[in-house]
Symmetry: C2
DNA sequence: GCGCTCGGTGTAAGCCCTTACATAGCAGTG
DNA sequence: CACTGCTATGTAAGGGCTTACACCGAGCGC
């Protein structure tokens, strides 16, 4: 038995397919009794309209996609979840695409674009070139955690200023040998954090720090980089990490080297993942509104899909000072927060 | 200018639309020179076939979906990522749907089913009823981390045995007052863990333990539950947690209550998330192949979509003993692993 | 030379909807 | 009572692709 179609339902309800469509989409007037009959017929056949056909006719996909490098750690998960929430709120399905190492990322993204009404593109997953190509083909794009491209808006969390200030805080505590752990080339946000780190040195009149100690976003890489960095008599007294998970790797490295945090080495992270509060000492970090980033990107995308031009947006971050960056180890609930203001980028 | 269609391309290449389709789908014979011309025409117009139309004609969505409760923590992220990998490998897009608290989950899942070729359904997101309904409508389903339903197969990680053994390990260390932290009603897997916990008591001839201390999967809930549990003179000497994040919440609770792990209280988790190795002392836990769960579910789904009947599958877990569960605190690299065998459920 | 097989191509019939436009009935006007 | 203005419904034209089937010419065995 072939699955029922709008024709089957129309026949059973004794109306035309146009009326069935009207009932379902609630477009155009339908008599109450007719509506009942149609609904009943649809229920009896347990029919639901074929999305493919509906989309084809209406020229709409009813779906939005998000492209991200990986789903490693809370940051990406939360962003994706925020995006999904917004998509559902806008009555769209959410498609995901992780590029990881995949070399044909461009191709995959282009392919994905053919099945959605718009796309959120994170980080360095694809080149600006591809973004322009997408827009050229009529796919609205919103960038996330990377700079705007032409008329394509970007949603970001403030990084530069927060990085400057958390570094300045460490310097104010007396640290003079600081290291940055992370890879500025891995993501635009990390580059901002690195530049803030540099800026704080400049502003404090300190000599320029050493090059970044390259590390990815995962704990294992933080452990490896942290071990290399700290297993040295000339080790820094403070390590500013590009994200919390790498910082947790440094925690493990310090523990395995017999170093105490913050007495022997101060550590800061970025993101404020839950584990940051579970470790001892609690990890000082910069909180960014991960879920909100995804949600806002989704909302901007919806606007663009609707034809409304959208401006770029920078969400505020919040410095969260905790015991890992130097306050006496005996302080019990070190959660002072210094908010930074929201700001909108000029178009 | 309307976007190009297969007709535009055919015209430009001087062939019929059938030939264009053949070139693109590589179905049927096409002369090499003709192929070139078509490809060139498509490139010049930067045309790519409309997926909606293609899907409609071929009666295929080229997409698979996964339904999960939330994306909180590494477990769900990794599972989803594994699923995405498999989907891409099978040349399908991945759709996600988080049900969170949303009360109309059933409806949303049914809606999602209308836009994919098959669905992976995790945990208690929807009832068995809905699963049957989906299958009834011709949507293949694979269950994940929940029991099979009729002919719908399930992919799971072994829980009962591992829970029995890690509890037995604690008992062997001399613990007699153990508590289980987690909500057996929250997820079938947690229920298995709870039953394993009970079983170990039985086997050891210990009196039945108290009821589970209810807690969700997130750290904050673990903290709250842990605080309530430990802030009591009659506190247990060991806490078996339903997952690592809740266990990390217990870590924070213990710290805030001035209790030492494992001297004052032993703690175990579940999942073996990266942070389990970063905390001090390292967290003993049960590793489950999170990514692999998602991948296998995706693979089974592909099989079912292809019309191949698929059997349920249980993946092995691995007990990872670390300092949190009792070995002297000075032991440095406590990573003994006790593997459990893979097994297949009989159909 | 003759029918045959077969590679290469075109024709046209769907796939299942949405929606502009046409039609019909009916209550309310002047 | 003809006419207007609705509301309720039907008709039919797509939307952009896949694919069964028909067709045509060329190489081939005999």
């Amino acid at each position: 038995m072939p699955s029922p179609s709008i024709y089957t339902v129309a026949q059973r309800a004794g109306v035309s397919i146009a009326t069935v469509s009207r009932v379902l989409r609630d477009s155009g007037p339908v008599a109450a009794t007719t509506r009942e009959r149609v609904l009943a017929a649809a229920a009896e056949l347990s029919w639901s309209p074929n999305r493919l056909a509906a989309g084809l006719a209406a020229r709409v996909h009813g779906a939005a996609g998000i492209v991200f490098p990986d789903l490693a750690g809370p940051y990406f998960s939360q962003v994706v979840l925020g995006f999904e929430e917004q998509a559902v709120a806008d009555d769209r399905s959410a498609l995901i695409l992780a590029t990881h190492g995949r070399l044909n990322a461009d191709e995959m993204v282009l392919d994905l674009a053919a099945r959605v009404d718009g796309l959120v593109v994170m980080d360095r997953t694809v080149t600006d070139e591809v973004v322009r190509c997408l827009e050229g083909r009529g796919s609205p794009v919103v960038l996330l955690a990377r700079p705007a491209v032409g008329a394509t808006p970007a949603v970001r969390a403030e990084s530069l200023d927060a990085a400057t200030r958390i570094t300045a805080h460490l310097i104010a505590l007396g640290h003079t040998r600081l290291a940055f752990l992370g890879d500025p080339e891995a993501a635009p946000d990390v580059d901002d954090r690195w530049r803030g780190f540099l800026l704080a040195h400049l502003e404090a009149g300190l000599p320029a720090p050493g090059k970044p100690v390259r590390s990815g976003f995962v704990q294992d890489e933080g452990y490896a980089a942290g071990t290399a960095l700290l297993d040295d008599a000339a080790r820094p007294t403070a390590v500013v990490c590009a994200n919390d998970e790498a910082a947790l790797g440094v925690y493990a490295a310090a523990r395995d080297l017999g170093l105490r945090i913050p007495d022997d080495v101060a550590v800061t992270g970025w993101d404020d993942i839950p584990a940051a509060r579970a470790v001892t000492p609690p990890l000082a970090t910069v909180r960014q509104p991960m879920r909100e980033l995804g949600r806002q990107a989704g909302a901007l995308l919806s606007a663009r899909i609707a034809g409304v031009p959208a401006d770029s947006l920078t969400l505020p971050t919040e410095i969260v000072l905790r015991a890992s960056c130097g306050p006496p180890a005996n302080s019990r609930t070190p959660t002072n927060r210094i908010p930074t203001p929201t700001r909108r980028l000029e178009p």
